[in-house]
Structure formats: C-alpha cells, structure tokens
Symmetry: none
Subunit: 206 residues, 4 copies
DNA sequence: CATGAATGAGGTTTCATTCAT
DNA sequence: TATGAATGAAACCTCATTCAT
C-alpha cells in the first residue's frame, strides 16, 4: 500500500482539490471523479491513496482540525503564567488568525456538516483544544477557576459561532477587526466573571 | 404549492419523517422513498407537497429556524425596558429552552450542514434574531450600546456553539444546568463590558 | 417490495435475458445493463426484482435445477414398484428429455461454473434428486440394495457427465440417440451389479 | 512467450498462487495483483510470463488437465491386453488417485467453470483421454466393442460426476473408498454389457 | 529483468423523479 | 388525489494493463 509512502505532492493535490470541489459544489455534488480531475490525476490514483470518498473528506477534515488545534495548543503553551486578560486575548487572536489563514477549508467543511464521520473528529479536536486551554487557565496568576474544564469548553465553543458568521461569510477587513475586538471582550468578560480576581471577582459576587 | 393547504397532517408527517431519517441516516442517505415510507405515504404523495428533495429538507430547516427565531423574538419583545442583566438572562434561557424542545431537529439539521440552500436560510433567520435582540438592547435603561447590531450579532452567534456542543451531544441534566449558568455569564459579561452601566462600564474604560 | 407480486412477465423476461447473455458472453461479461437491455427493461427495473447480479444468476440457476429435479422426481414417483430395468431406463430418458428441453440453460449455467453461490444450490438439487431416486430404487421388486443412497448418488452424478459432453456440446440427433442407449446401459449395468436380482446378482457375486 | 524459459520457479509460483486465489476467491475476484502478491512477485513480473489474465487461468487449466490425462494415458498404456475388468478397474483407480493428488486444483477449476477458453481445453483433454481409453479397450482379450470410441467417451465422462461430487466436496476417507468400489462397478458393468464376453454379452443380446 | 504507481474504461448499484392506473 | 413501478443518469469503485524507473 502506498498509503505509507504517500507521495506527498499527489496527496496534497488531491486534498486541495477536495476542498475546492467542496467549496464549489458541496458534499453532495462532490464526486471522486471531479476531485481527481481537479487534482490532475486519475480516479484510480485517488483510490490508491484514499479508501473511499468518505475517508477522503475525513482526511481533509482531519488536516484542517489538526492545524487549528495545533495553533490553539501553541498559543496556550506560550501564554502559561500570563495574566488572564493576556491569555484570552492571545487565544482569540491566534484562533482568528488560524481561521483566516484557512478560510476556504473552514467554509468547505462547514458546508459539509457532520455528514462524514459524524462529529467524532470535531469532538476529538475540540477536546484537545479544551485540554490545552484548561491547562493554560489554571496557570493564571490573577485568577482561580472552580471548574477550568467548563471554562475551556465555553471558550472553545463560543468563539466558533462569531468567527464562522463573519469570516466564513466573507466579511470585509473592518468587520474582521471588529470581530477581533468583540470576541476578545466576550471571552475576557466571561473568564473574569467566573474566575477573575479582584474587581472582576467582586462583580460576580455582587 | 399546496403545501399550505389543508392536508397539514400529511405535510407534518412528511416533515417529521424527514427529521427522523436525517437523524438516523444523514442527508446523504436520505432518500425520498425512505422518507415517504417512514411517513406512511407513497413517494408520489410526497412529490405532491414538495417540489423536490431539496425543498423538502429546506422546509424542515425553515420550520425549525422559524420556531427558534420566534421564541427569541418573543423573549426580546417581553423584555424591552428590562435591566440589561435580565434581558440577557431571559434571552439565554429562552434560547436553551427552545433548543431543548427540539433537540432532534437541531441534531438532524446540524448533521445536514449547509448542503441545502447553503446558508441562506440560516443567515436570514439569524438576521431576524439579531434585529429583535438589537431592538431589545437599545431599550435597556442601564446601558448604552455604541453598536447594538454588532452586540446582537455576537450574542446570537456566540450562544450557538456551547448549546450545540452540549445539547446536541446529549449532555445530561446537570451539564445542561451548568450550560445555562455559564452561557448567561458569558453573555452578561460581554454586554456589561461593551454597553454595561456603572462599574462594568468603567472597567471597560479602564 | 414487488418481489412478492413479481410481475411474472417482467421477471421471466429478465431471467431469459440472463440466460441469453450467459450463453453469449459468459458470466464475466454478463453485465446487469446488458441483461436489462436484452430483456427490454431498464437497469432500475432489474434491480427492483433482483437484489444484485449474484441473486439474478442464482435465480436462473435455481429455476433450472428446480425444473430438472422436478422431472426426475416425477419420473421416480411414476416408476415405483416397476422392474429395476424399467425404473432406470425411465429415469435416464426423463433426464435426457428434460435436459434437451433446456439445453440453453444447461450450457449457460455450466459455463458459469460454481462462481455463484458456490455449489450450494447444485448440491441441494442433487440431494433432492438422490432422495427421489433412492425412494424409487427400494421399491424395485426384482432387486435389493444394501445402500440405496449410494446407488442414487452414483446414478445422479454419473449421468451428468455424458449428458453434458454430448448435449451441451450440441451433438446431432443420432449421437443423442446413442447417448440415450449407452446411458441406459451404464445405469442398468450398475444397478444390476450392485442390487440386481437373479442372474445379474450372481454375476456380481462371481 | 518466455513462460517456457528457465524461470520455472517463478512461473510455478504464479500458477500455484492462481490456484490458491481461485479456491479462496473464485474467478470473479481473482485479480492479477492479488495473484502476483500471493506469488511473491510484482504484477509487472506476472505480465512478463503471462500475456493476460485469461492465459494465466488457461495455463493453470492446461497444467491440471495435462496431469490428469497423462495419468490416464499411462494407465491405459500399462493395461493393454489385460482382461476387461482389470483394464477398467485400473483406469478408475488411476483417475481417482490423480484427482485426489490435486483436489485443490480440481475444486478451483471447477468453480471457474468454462469461463476461460470455453470448453476448448477440456474437450481437447477429454479427447486425448478417450483416444487412450479406446486404444486400450480394443486390446481386451475377453471383449469386442462395436464402437470403442463411444465406450471411451462414456467411460471418461461418466466418471467425472461421481468423483466431483465426492472428492471435490471433501468427502471423508470411507466415502472415498466407497466411491472407488462403486465407480469401478459402474464402469465394469457398462463395458461388460456393451462389449463384454460370455454371460454379460448374452445379457445385452437378450 | 523487476517493480508498482498510474491509468481510465467500464461495471454495479442507487435514487430522484415521472406517469399510468 | 394517491400510488408505486419504471426509468436512466450518474455515482462509486475495481482492476487489467502499461511504462518509467
């Protein structure tokens, strides 16, 4: 099986073509032939590297989620011990940046929905992100969280909606700037309320 | 289209069957015959009420979105003039309640993704919700919003992720209770930071 | 499922077309499209009556075997109590006649080999024939068989080869006549040796 | 064709692999790649020795038939001039022994049916066997055959069925012993009736 | 000579849609 | 109006065969 030696170039071409077709035609009209043609290979070659249509789309999904989660994990690692506000701000920026870098993929996969592999892949990726976020949150010098896992869950899931609504819809630059600010406000407001120190804490207590 | 006609029973049966099939088999394996069978009618009858498969799924989508948005609009209407915190709390509760009432539909349509009608329907529904929310926000006696539309956009999109992650994944009751609290914290924290009165305001300004 | 109400005409047309294609092109080049076309229906219709290609060929096989075995059973039933020689002669004639009536089917199915359903169907049919033959043999007034089952097995299997070699190869009438005589000699010689009465018996004993 | 060449080892490995695949998967699922893999060579190498899939299977068929016929010819040669009963008994034993030695091949090729090269190879082999048998029969001191060719045809074809039914179905040793006896009885009974001397002759004449 | 990735024609099967009853 | 058999375009996938290395 060449799946081992996956001739990187060919595989990448196929994955990219898959995204293009997914964006242009949607999952239902994504045919293996169309993908192969767009990738400049034959169907046979496509099937040499991917067992079937499902695993083709799953691979695209996997690659995308992996990249995003990787960025999130990196941001979390780099901000351990930082003030809460810095943590959350960095996280939001990193997430938005990563999404911007792969808007196409995002759009494509969003349109595909959970048809492929249900949510298994998404949930796994989300979990990885949540663990990284939770691990970061507990190192905040100016905050203490009763339940860091829940906080991480909220942060990771609440950011997706706004980002999708704007980025994937093709919002213009000023709008993206606004998103950046407001998403940060959203997240900072949340963590300060539930885990924040000093003034913020007292607000919650009120 | 006689879909509006008296044979409401049949139409409802078909729509419900569509959801069942969507949940059980996903959009890709949703066939008109299967839907008809599950609904207890013949394919011919199905085509009497729906022009094609696309409009069948679109109708389900429409019905679901309409219900959710209706609930949101109602909550917004009932809370005009209320304190900001009350507004947002009510909104979150109303949204979660509505989603709980139709978890199946939510799950089904989520799995279908944007395959049908792209995002047009979703975006339209979201817009309606945002308008209702914005209209409510500006009546808050204890807050002033620079850009109520953006605030409404953030509120309506940020709530979706957490709700999906927990509700549609089949979270147990205690988790749902947690969600309720944290979602409210998330939203209240946000609006108080960007439009909130007194102390909160000054925090933002700091 | 219309498999119940199997519109006899259509099904028969499809089965006959299958045989034609089997004869003309062999199992490997038997395509469902070709069969459908030859039957004057669409592929879709074919699949409405047969789950897949395999069961299509299996149905042909089944029908053919059923007819042959039916004839054999009938011949056996009609010759109970008859003299051994009459029994065997009738059996051979009945078998040859039945085969002649369906030479095409025989040829077609022979060419298909055991590719479809292995030998299961053939073995089942053969067993039915053997039981009928054994049941007949034990009623012979002029013979006693130590092991009627084995005798029946031998008779039913030994006749196939010669019949195939001549009939299915398209032997001319005189050859067929010869076959009829010699096959009878073969079978009579055998049963008289192993179960035969009087003179024949003593021959064996000698 | 270099198939005759020195690389006999490779060719043999390929032919054996073909049989294995034929037994395990049937002709329909026999792929050149699978055969090559099982043989421990690459597809390219396979195509170096066999023009195409058809000739690959044909070669297996040929080899098998050649072996069987060879054994038969040898038995016939060795029994020229022997008493009729000895001739036929030896023939039956030789045939059964040869088949037992290659049960796998037999099964494999039976399952393949006449898909490859129709019956041409089989008929040619059968003819060679018949000629050997006929040549032997005419040397019988205690019998005279009106039509030795027909006798040979009957003997060679009638033996196949029982042997297949038992041997290829995987009959246990005692059953095989029974087969040996009964097949001999079948053949002896036949030749004595149609060509046999003395008592048997007179029976026919009656 | 050997290899095995690439090719693409073609086979099986599904399913949206129609229309005669 | 309701039915569901028939249709056939089109999708997925396989595999015999080639050819550059």
């Amino acid at each position: 099986m060449p799946s081992q030696a996956r001739s990187g170039v060919t595989v990448t071409a196929i994955l990219d073509a898959t995204i293009q077709v997914l964006i242009g035609d949607g999952l239902t009209r994504l045919t293996t032939t169309r993908v192969a043609t767009r990738a400049g290979v034959s169907v046979g070659t496509l099937y040499q590297y991917f067992a079937d249509k499902r695993s083709l789309v799953a691979a695209v999904k996997q690659r995308h989620l992996g990249e995003i989660v990787g960025v999130v994990e990196q941001a979390c690692a780099m901000n351990r011990g930082a003030p809460l506000r810095v943590m959350v701000t960095s996280l939001c920026h990193a997430f938005i940046d990563a999404k911007i870098r792969r808007v196409d993929e995002s759009r494509a996969l969003y349109s595909a929905g959970a048809e492929v592999d249900g949510d298994v892949l998404v949930r796994a990726a989300s979990l990885r992100a949540q663990q990284a976020i939770a691990a970061m949150l507990v190192t905040a010098p100016d905050a203490t969280f009763e339940d860091p896992a829940v906080a991480a869950l909220m942060l990771s899931t609440a950011t997706i909606g706004p980002v999708q609504a704007l980025l994937e819809a093709g919002a213009p630059a000023p709008m993206v700037a606004l998103l950046r600010t407001h998403l940060t406000e959203l997240c900072v407001g949340y963590v300060e309320r539930i885990g924040g120190s000093g003034a913020a804490r007292s607000t919650v207590g009120r």
